[in-house]
Amino acid sequence: MKTVKVYGPGCARCETTAQMVQDAATELGVKVTVEKVTNPRDIAMAGVMSTPGVAVDGQLVHAGGLPDAAKLAGWLSA
């Protein structure tokens, strides 16, 4: 069970990123809960300056733009 946080103020790319995480997890058969963090304060406190940002189990792994699908699979299966 992994907890994935997607940081972003609700822009189109943030939604896409959340969906990508969900899809990748389904494909890999990994159980995840995806949490969208939209509060600007929480986004900033997580150290994310370019959205969308992605954290897996509390570890920030990505910031800025859509994540690469292959890397996403890597984070989820690590």
Binding site: Y7, C11, P40, R41, I43, G47, S50, L66, A70
Partner: protein
């Protein structure tokens, strides 16, 4: 690594030579298309049952010439910018700016504002990230003003539609305003006008992400992605802007233009700024209008002031920034930038 699960990604398997070859081919195709713009618009205009030199004919010709031209220019500019900006990131910019002495910080902040990729939707986290890292408020403002004001799309289109002289003037003055406005606001000690929660924020050093190593092909992929995303978003603004430009070009008599936007009327500069602030479009939409205005004899200072206030001061951005800035600080921000724009407008109307 479970490599076999990643075989579903088709873009991974595209070999490098295909990217290089494709880029070269696209470049040649671009040039060929660009050189056909005038014959194409002449031919397309002749399909309409109106005389070429009538008002309607002029407007249609302007529209049919500018739409493909702006879209072609935009594609090239966005791609090149996307590739160049892949060397920069807000995280790196923050590291550079937080270690700089204040006086160097303002021009550097403005320069990095142009080069760092960021979208207005993440300007709040970016603002907080900068301020909490100890970057002076004024330098942060220089960064935030320069980003939209001296953006490559605006400069590139100005260069392509109006000419290099005006593009160069715009670059120099846009950059100067960003630097000086940030400096002036830095001197005012405005920290107390941040929203309370931002002032109390004491973010430690952000967890650094491991630096990604990108190949040239990765960067080209980023550029292409940008083209797809930005053109998909702005094309409608481009078409609207060109339609307005075409109407001005075809129908507005020069005498009227000279009376409203000529250099004689001193009030035309402040009026252009006031009209420009609530207008929300982007550089790609406003520059065809600028092209038409200048073509009809509008004064350069007035036109520059209009363009700068449309691009640099936008209401939606202010609403986003409201989350971190108090209304009072937003008002100061608008006033300082508007003062810089007014000064530029008056200066050019006076010397030309």
């Amino acid at each position: 690594m479970s490599a076999d699960t990643q075989g579903t990604m088709p873009q991974r398997s595209r070999p490098d030579w295909l990217w290089y070859g494709g880029a070269a081919l696209a470049g040649i195709l671009w040039l060929l298309l660009y050189r056909q713009l005038i014959p194409f618009s002449d031919w397309a205009t002749s399909l309409f049952p109106v005389a070429r030199d009538s008002h309607t004919g002029e407007a249609i010709a302007f529209f049919l010439y500018d739409v493909p031209k702006v879209l072609l220019l935009l594609t090239l500019i966005v791609f090149v910018t996307g590739v160049l900006r892949s060397w920069f990131s807000p995280e790196k910019t923050r590291a550079v700016l937080s270690g700089k002495r204040a006086i160097l910080g303002y021009p550097l902040g403005a320069a990095l504002g142009v080069l760092t990729p960021f979208c207005s939707c993440s300007s709040v986290p970016l603002f907080i990230g900068f301020v909490s890292a100890g970057i002076p408020l004024g330098v942060t403002f220089s960064f935030l003003i320069a980003g939209p004001m001296v953006g490559p799309v605006g400069l590139g289109l100005l260069f392509g539609l109006v000419g290099w002289r005006i593009a160069a003037i715009y670059l120099v003055f846009g950059f100067t305003i960003s630097t000086l406005a940030g400096w002036a606001m830095g001197r005012m000690g405005l920290e107390r006008y941040l929203q309370d929660w931002v002032r109390e924020l004491n973010a430690g050093p952000a967890p650094g992400l491991p630096e990604e190593r990108l190949t040239l092909v990765d960067r080209m992929r980023i550029g292409l992605e940008q083209v797809r995303e930005i053109l998909g978003k702005v094309w409608i603004w481009v078409v609207i802007g060109i339609a307005i430009g075409a109407l001005i070009h075809g129908y507005v008599p020069e005498a009227t233009m000279l009376r409203i936007m000529g250099g004689e009327a001193w009030w035309s500069v402040p009026a252009a700024v006031v009209v420009g602030i609530p207008m929300y479009t982007n550089a790609a939409g406003v520059i065809p209008i600028v092209e038409a205005l200048l073509g009809k004899g509008a004064a350069l200072g007035t036109t520059l002031a209009f363009m700068m206030s449309v691009i640099a001061l936008s209401l939606p951005e202010m609403i986003i920034l409201k989350q971190v800035l108090t209304l009072r600080l937003i008002a100061i921000f608008i006033a300082v930038v508007a003062a810089g724009i007014l000064a530029t407008g008056f200066l050019f109307n006076a010397i030309l």
